[in-house]
Amino acid sequence: MSIFVELFVEVNVVTKKKQYVTIKGTKDGLTLHLDDNCSYDDLLRELEEKLTVSEKIEPDSPLVSVHLKVGNRYLTPEQEEELRTLIRRTKNFVVSSIESNVLTKEEALEWKRKTEIVSVSKIVRSGQVLHVQGDLLLIGDVNPGGTVIAGGNIFILGALRGIAHAGYYGNKEAVIAASVMKPTQLRISDVMNRAPDYKTDEGNEMECAYIDEHNQIVVDRLQLLMHLRPNLTRLERRM
């Protein structure tokens, strides 16, 4: 009997208060938690209500940044835009970020492509281009005239004698490592480094290339990477 009463009270409270939107203040601004069970229209209505009710805008009070947490709700780009304009219009709030637990399959696959290590066993010969979205682990050589490109890092178990381009989409943290480092050209993000004109025979084994603090590509011992790029250790980095 008593359980029943409690339950009844509980339900009553929810329906009465319609708490679809809760506002919390943090040190970085406001966080709006938006319920993920109600319909989008209900959410929108309540949001508008809430924001206009507590109206006391002083014309030139500073903008407050708002973080939206939408839980397990997927928002289309149009809906995101709608929320941003609504919030911006009704108060001196501006949405700094929208966080959802939901990814579309497309986004998930894209994320997977960009973060997975693709391992390929072959010789990339003159005239051939091997291009992967994430990290590349090549078991084999890149011959002169051959090119390997990766959105992430490039690791070569073999000789790099052609062109390697890591961080292809603009990642300057990306590195290139090879068992034998004798490239004709190295590129990381938008930085390029041509092979020296003189031919050196020693010291090309187990080396890595990275962008240093002067925005230059430098080649050094492989062992330095653990200090320079500690992130390489975590498999699920960039999540």
């Binding site: 003159s126 005239g127 051939q128 050589d141």
Partner: protein, 267 residues
């Protein structure tokens, strides 16, 4: 059912035609029935190197365009009764006179009658190359110990590896000069093989007798005493599946000999 082997290189003038003539002749000497096909339409050479130029009546384009049967166009090499034949290229057309499909059909037909069909490929990676590889079951890549030739060989190997109907290509390194290798002026065999990482089928020394023999229309392999001849015969035996150790080059042997002499204080 025979086997079709294309001899190719990418770069011109490295010895495809010479290799086709000599390896083909060596296979005939070893008792195989061999048909050589010249696909270098417009720049035919194989007939000259084989000394069969005067006996050409029909050519490959005549066959493809239905003006005669293959049998009629084949030129018989009388030195090897019934073992060695040549299908000459046309001299008056160009590479576009034949399609890869037509070439495949033609080679398939020849494979019915011969143990080996050797296809001499033109230089380059365009239509002539595509025609030459269309009917081939495997490929021999010829290179010389020069950086540019090795680069082109690498390019060709990359293309050949994409041909799903073919076995992995094998390599012949031609025109090696022992003294230049020793002085570091030329790439050495190990370097080239490591770089291209395909199986090595054989090496041929640079030998002016090869040129002389070709000019006479008598492939060097017919001279049993020449080093180059033995090298070509060894290549033929390796194609037949025998395991024949690599022949050291003349200069290397001299080098070794003088080293030994030095060791014993003889000069």
């Amino acid at each position: 059912m025979g086997e079709a082997i294309v001899i190719t290189s990418g770069k011109g003038g490295v010895g495809k035609t010479t290799t086709t003539a000599n390896v083909g002749t060596a296979l005939a000497i070893l008792g195989k029935r061999v048909c050589l096909v010249d696909t270098d339409i417009g720049l035919r050479n194989l007939d000259v190197v084989m000394g069969l130029e005067n006996r050409i009546i029909y050519d490959l384009v005549d066959v493809v365009e239905g003006r005669c049967t293959v049998q009629k166009a084949l030129v018989k090499d009388k030195r090897f009764d019934n073992h060695l034949y040549l299908l000459p290229a046309a001299q008056t057309s160009d590479k576009s006179a034949v399609t890869p499909e037509q070439m495949k059909q033609l080679v398939d037909e020849l494979k019915q009658d011969y143990d080996y069909v050797l296809i001499d490929c033109p230089a380059g990676i365009e239509q002539g190359y595509r025609n030459a590889v269309a009917g081939a079951d495997e490929a021999i890549v010829v290179t010389t110990p020069e950086v540019s030739a090795v680069r082109d060989a690498d390019r060709i190997i990359g293309l050949l590896e994409n041909e799903e109907h073919m076995k992995p290509p094998r390599l012949i390194i031609n025109r090696i000069r022992g003294h230049m290798v020793k002085n570091g002026d030329m790439l050495d065999v190990d370097e080239i093989v490591m770089h291209l990482s395909i199986d090595l089928l054989g090496i041929i020394a640079d030998d002016e007798n090869v040129i002389k023999a070709s000019n006479k229309g008598e492939p060097i392999v017919l001279d049993p005493n020449s080093k180059a001849s033995i090298a070509y015969r060894n290549i033929a035996r390796r194609i037949l599946g025998e395991s024949v150790p690599l022949l050291p080059l003349e200069e290397d042997r001299k080098g070794l000999f003088s080293k030994i002499k030095k060791l014993f204080g003889v000069h």
